[in-house]
């Protein structure tokens, strides 16, 4: 193109182009790549730090609980602990990726670049969730690779493992998007993390089987979606879990559908994004 020549790019959309249509693949791919590059540029914070934290939990709890009876037949405590820690890290990082990115863009003001672009709700949604899943997969892979020489794990049901990872990671990525849309300052985001994500993570059976809990907490655990996410993920490794895998899959899928519906409504209506 000659210097300064201004010819508009071709426009495939027509009058009545729906908000709900996914039609911009280049825009989606660009936003996904941009979100991946964003967390990649601060890999120490976004991948190394959570992996180190999770491995410290593993080290401390493995030592403290050494010699306890196997949680499931043939599964000792350290083996039991690793999948739970991996899924807890996946949950926390999928949430952190979308929520921190969106909140930071809002506070810095650079969200206008996205808001003015011809990207629809589905492209936003798919790009943010995909990038969060890449980060979650990276964190999970590094954790499993680092712990493998010390705690080798079997893989009983790889499809269930993958399904639980995708459904759970995506659910938390979507929750992070919702939090990012709702939050107008980092304090709001911290409230989400401190009062929802962290308590539900720690009360989800990462460090114990819910069968070891008193009746009240045992029953309460069954209303915590994170419990099903972790329990289903553990099933993928051992073929054994506290509840049937179908129930865990149903909870994770239900969470994803419900949260996605809320998030897409927010994106389509411009809730808290467009004044």
């Amino acid at each position: 193109m000659s210097e300064g020549e201004m010819s508009p790019p071709s426009v495939s959309g027509s009058a009545g182009d729906e908000l709900s249509r996914f039609s911009d693949r280049v825009g989606f791919a660009t936003l996904t790549l941009k979100e991946i590059k964003r967390f990649w540029s601060v890999l120490g914070q976004t991948v190394t730090a959570p992996v180190v934290t999770a491995l410290l939990y593993l080290l401390v709890f493995a030592q403290a609980m050494k010699g306890r009876a196997p949680v499931y037949p043939g599964v000792d405590y350290t083996e039991f602990l690793v999948p739970g820690l991996v899924m807890m890290t996946v949950i926390q990082n999928a949430f952190a990726n979308t929520s921190s990115s969106l909140t930071q863009s809002k506070i810095m003001g650079n969200l206008v670049f996205l808001l003015m672009a011809p990207l629809g709700a589905w492209e936003w949604f798919a790009a943010y969730v995909s990038a969060a899943l890449v980060r979650a997969a990276l964190v999970a892979t590094v954790m499993l690779l680092v712990s493998a020489p010390f705690v080798p794990l079997p893989i009983h049901a790889p499809l269930a493992l993958l399904a639980m990872f995708l459904l759970s990671g995506a659910s938390l990525a979507v929750l992070g998007l919702i939090a990012g849309i709702v939050a107008s300052k980092f304090d709001h985001l911290a409230a989400f993390t401190n009062f929802i994500i962290t308590p539900l993570s720690f009360l989800s059976g990462v460090f114990y089987s819910v069968h070891a809990l008193p009746p009240f907490w045992y029953a309460a655990s069954h209303f915590n979606p994170f419990f099903y996410m972790i329990d289903g993920f553990r099933y993928g490794f051992f073929g054994q879990a506290d509840v049937p895998i179908a129930l865990s899959l149903a909870w994770a899928a239900g969470c994803l559908v419900l949260l996605s519906a809320v998030c897409l409504w927010m994106l389509m209506t411009g809730y808290k994004l467009r004044r």
Binding site: G4, P8, P9, V11, V26, L31, L33, V112, P118, G270
Partner: protein, 314 residues
């Protein structure tokens, strides 16, 4: 894509309220294809609200806006692809380098590698070439402003809106920017400009709208706007004596010994002033006449000085 509309921008009955504050109160006007158009108004007049509504950042309560015939609500994808907006605020993404940021922005508009030569050209034209690998957070304010301008142009939109692009930037950037924008305009780009440098608007814009309190006060060609003023100005430096009382009502400023009179062309001939001075025995040391400029028109229409034109609209 149907872009046969003769108007680059059609704004019809747009209203927007924030609580009890009516930021836009039934704004209607059109900007023709290929125009260099100025949108002026004092602080809080509604300029930025209008621009942000065109850009899709704000939803109007009533009315409609079309970009080259494409409605910004019902046909928003097409409309957004056809405009580039330079926001007023100096916003940037701290995670990326300059060239990466521009390529990302191009991707948002569906432009891939084919847009990279244009990006390289803009980097040269906006004197950003030696900063292409610099992180955004390391740039000075002026450099960040250049990147914002490049971001708005990255998809080569036929309609460009610049919301105070020269606020707080040095003379060199202003010249670079206007040279570049004038060239794009010559090649057919419609340019909409808000600025608080009224001389810029007077020099560059073919038509000007003055907006105040959310309403369009006037929309005329720059020449018509300048001609509509029925006054001219006479600056006097008096040697001895005071200005006669009969001329006092005509004084519009007195500073550093210079008295400026505002004379109505039909009622106050300059010769009459000289006669009054001579009869009062007052000597004239120096005399200058001045035709009204855009600032005078602006003050007359809005009752406010141009320093209040800048920025912080609703």
């Amino acid at each position: 894509m149907n872009t046969s509309s003769p108007d680059a921008l059609s704004i019809a009955g747009v209203r927007k309220a924030y609580g009890k504050v009516q930021a836009l109160d039934g704004v209607s006007f059109s900007i023709r294809r290929g125009e260099f158009f100025g949108l002026l108004g004092p602080n809080g007049a509604g300029k930025s609200t209008l621009i942000n509504t065109i850009a899709g950042l704000i939803r109007a309560d009533q009315g409609s806006i079309a970009v080259l015939g494409h409605d910004t609500v019902h046909d928003w994808r097409s409309a957004r692809r056809l405009i580039g907006v330079v926001p007023q605020e100096l916003v940037f993404d701290p995670f990326f380098k300059v060239a990466d940021m521009l390529r990302i922005q191009a991707g948002y508009y569906g432009c891939g590698r084919e847009s990279w030569p244009w990006i390289d050209e803009m980097l040269v034209r906006l004197d950003l070439d030696n900063k292409r690998s610099s992180p955004m957070r390391a740039l000075s304010g002026g450099m960040k402003r250049r990147v914002l301008i490049a971001q708005a142009l990255v998809h080569q939109p036929p309609v460009v809106i610049l919301d105070e692009p020269t606020a707080g930037v040095d003379v060199e950037l202003r010249r670079t920017l206007w040279r570049f924008m004038s060239e794009l305009h010559r090649k057919g780009t419609t340019v909409v400009l808000t600025t608080h440098y009224l001389e810029e608007a007077q020099d560059l814009c073919e038509r000007i709208a003055i907006i105040d309190k959310g309403q369009v006060k006037v929309i005329e060609t720059t020449a018509e706007l300048l001609d509509r003023n029925k006054y001219r100005f006479l600056r006097l430096k008096l040697g001895n004596g005071a200005l006669p009382e009969s001329l006092r009502p005509l004084v519009c400023s007195e500073k550093n010994g210079i008295t400026e009179l505002r004379l109505e062309r039909d009622k106050h001939p300059i010769g009459g002033v000289f006669t009054a001075l001579r009869m009062a025995g007052v000597d004239i040391e120096d005399v200058q006449t001045r035709e009204p400029d855009l600032e005078d028109i602006f003050i007359e229409l809005t009752g406010r000085h141009s320093s209040a034109v800048a920025g912080a609209a609703a």
